[in-house]
């Protein structure tokens, strides 16, 4: 090292410091790539594992559900509301002036068959489960669901009408495998 810094050495001290800067940055860059490539497996380790992803769809037999009745099933650890709506409820959901809604969406965009309303039963405010599934439950001012945590009201299409929730109850991906079986997820 002492030799290369000698004045009069071919190339001089200036070239040498450039070379050192380059080597320093190259080493640093290689180190950063190394650290990042080790960090990623550790971060991804915390993501859903294969067995969790394998549980990401749920098949439900909807045959026993009577008109006007609701059931709650579990999909990805979350409650999913399945309500077989009465014709009155369907009409009520369709007759709303969409422009008056906080999260404007026609009822037709939220169902595949008007009789079957399928929703993720999680209030879009802060994640509580709204009431309205059971017979004695309060259903809020719009005959849908009412969240007891902070008072959000949902209508018979699961759209937010009153309270702090910013958006409608989410519609999960689902498909009717047969007339009596629905696959959620």
């Amino acid at each position: 090292m002492a030799d290369t810094a000698k004045p009069g050495h071919p190339g001089g001290a200036h070239d040498d410091s450039n070379r050192r800067d380059f080597l320093f940055m190259l080493t640093g860059a290689a180190g950063a790539v190394g650290v990042a490539s080790v960090a990623w497996p550790f971060i991804h380790f915390m993501n859903p594992s294969a067995d969790v992803l394998a549980l990401s769809s749920t098949e439900v037999n909807i045959e026993p559900i009577k008109v006007g009745q609701s059931i709650t099933v579990v999909w990805r650890g979350k409650p999913v509301f399945i309500r077989r709506r009465t014709s009155e409820e369907i009409k009520q959901a369709a007759d709303v002036n969409i422009k008056s809604l906080r999260d404007p969406q026609p009822d037709s965009a939220r169902v595949k068959k008007p009789e079957w309303l399928i929703l993720v039963g999680i209030c879009t405010h802060l994640g509580c489960v709204p009431l309205g599934q059971k017979l004695g439950d309060p259903r809020g001012d719009f005959s849908g669901w009412f969240c007891p945590c902070h008072g959000s009201h949902y209508d018979t299409s699961g759209r937010v009408r009153l309270g702090p929730a910013p958006a409608n109850l989410a519609v999960p991906p689902y498909a009717f495998l047969t007339d009596t079986t629905v696959k959620i997820g």
Binding site: P41, F42, H44, F45, N47, S49
Partner: protein
């Protein structure tokens, strides 16, 4: 190089430092720290052990996110980590082989200390703290090995906890206490998991004290002579930070070879069989880093002491346990067993060779521990056990007494400046 830390030019750094001098401390202990200029690569293994401690804690904390400490789920949860969890195989193999790499680093570190007399005054406490770290590591490694709840986990736990039953009068009571039941079972697994998570952080604390003691007495060096002045030292940064980082790079190549190409080479296949409390595997062996102690444990003949007088003074079982624990505890008094005033074996013409006999003895005990205790392996274990204690208790004091050490160089700087010819 010394003086006010250059980073104190930054106003924010200065503000913090005036209230909590962490930057001054870093400057003193990681940058300016005067280090002997003649340290060889044998001095890399302390920082390598520290590196492995960090790797083990990080990978362990992540594994704990997917592990279930219950006898019904532990084995399955580990297999789930291997098959279903993203990169679970990688992180488990990093942790599993990391234990071996940690022990490799620590054992080389320990032998280096023995060769260069790093345990001698004024570094006795530094040495003691190192032995405490080794004991904590052994406890942590043992309990970690139990967690996958395979056959070796279960029967290793059974055998090792049963060692305590050899203690007279209170032995069985202690064993029941350790188990939290009448056999190794769910309560045992739960407490081992709790302690396996706790002890590494205790190790971090003791490592802190170890480094504090090191920075107080300063590093030993291959010549084993004291630092006489600034001409004998260079600042830790950039010289030894760069050298340590290069060492970490080389060490990681070896580590990666295990993780990616031979992840189960050092493990026992029997641990991929779920624990069965009703059937013991034909041949129980601990992990390689415990083999020498295991050989010592099994080496004692029946009625080891007193048998020639027709009565049993110390039963073989208790003698084995005493010798096994004694083999490590004896290291605490090594600074006084070694009567030589010269630290480095480089200047001790007899000890220099005898040291290697001790290394060979440890290697032989490692082999003997891996074999069933019968035939030649048993005799190697017995001879090795004898030599291990003979070396520490008899040879160390004796050699120091009659050996004539070579003349020591006047300073560290002198042989360095004269091209190593002094």
């Amino acid at each position: 190089m010394t003086g006010a830390p250059a980073m104190l030019d930054n106003k924010l750094v200065k503000w913090v430092d005036q209230r909590l001098p962490i930057f001054t401390m870093m400057q003193h202990s990681a940058i300016d720290y005067p280090t002997p200029k003649n340290l060889s690569y044998w001095w890399n293994f302390g920082s390598l052990a520290g590196f492995m401690l960090v790797v083990m804690i990080v990978s362990g904390v992540f594994l704990a996110m997917h592990y279930t400490p219950h006898v019904d789920y532990a084995f399955a949860s580990v297999e789930r980590i291997m098959r279903d969890v993203n990169y679970g195989w990688l992180i488990r193999y990093i942790h599993m082989n990391g234990a071996s790499m940690f022990f490799i680093a620590v054992y080389i570190h320990l032998f280096r200390g023995m060769y260069y007399g790093s345990y001698k005054a004024p570094r006795e406490l530094l040495w003691w703290l190192g032995i405490v770290i080794l004991l904590l590591m052994m406890a942590t490694a043992f309990m970690g090995y139990v967690l996958p709840w395979g056959q070796m986990s279960f029967w290793g736990a059974t055998v090792i906890t049963n060692l305590f039953s050899a203690i007279p009068f209170v032995g069985n009571w202690i064993v029941t206490l350790l188990w939290g039941g009448f056999s190794v079972d769910n309560p045992t697994l739960n407490r081992f998991y709790s302690l396996h998570y706790l002890l590494p952080f205790v190790i971090v604390g003791v490592v802190g004290a170890h480094i504090w003691a090191l920075h107080t007495t300063k590093s030993n060096n291959p010549l084993g002579i004291d630092i006489k002045g600034p001409q004998d030292t260079i600042p830790f940064h950039p010289y030894y930070t760069a050298k340590d980082m290069f060492g970490v790079g080389v060490f990681m190549v070896v580590y990666a070879l295990f993780v990616f190409f031979a992840p189960n080479l050092l493990g026992d296949p029997a641990n991929y069989i779920p624990a069965n409390p009703l059937q013991t595997p034909a041949h129980i062996v601990p992990e390689w880093y415990f083999l020498p102690y295991y050989a010592i444990l099994r080496a004692t003949p029946d009625n080891f002491i007193g048998s020639w007088m027709g009565f049993t003074l110390v039963p073989a079982k208790l003698a084995g346990v005493i010798l096994m624990f004694g083999s490590i505890l004896l290291l605490f008094v090594l600074p006084w067993l070694d009567t030589s005033r010269v630290r480095s074996a480089r200047f001790r013409p007899i000890y220099k060779w005898v040291f290697w006999l001790f290394v060979i003895c440890c290697a032989a005990l490692t082999w003997a521990g891996s074999q069933p205790p019968e035939g030649p392996a048993l005799w190697v274990a017995r001879l090795g056990t004898f030599y291990y204690f003979f070396h520490l208790i008899v040879l160390m004091p004796l050699i120091g007494w009659f050996e004539r050490p070579l003349a020591l160089p006047k300073s560290i700087a002198e042989p360095v400046l004269s091209g190593g010819k002094a």
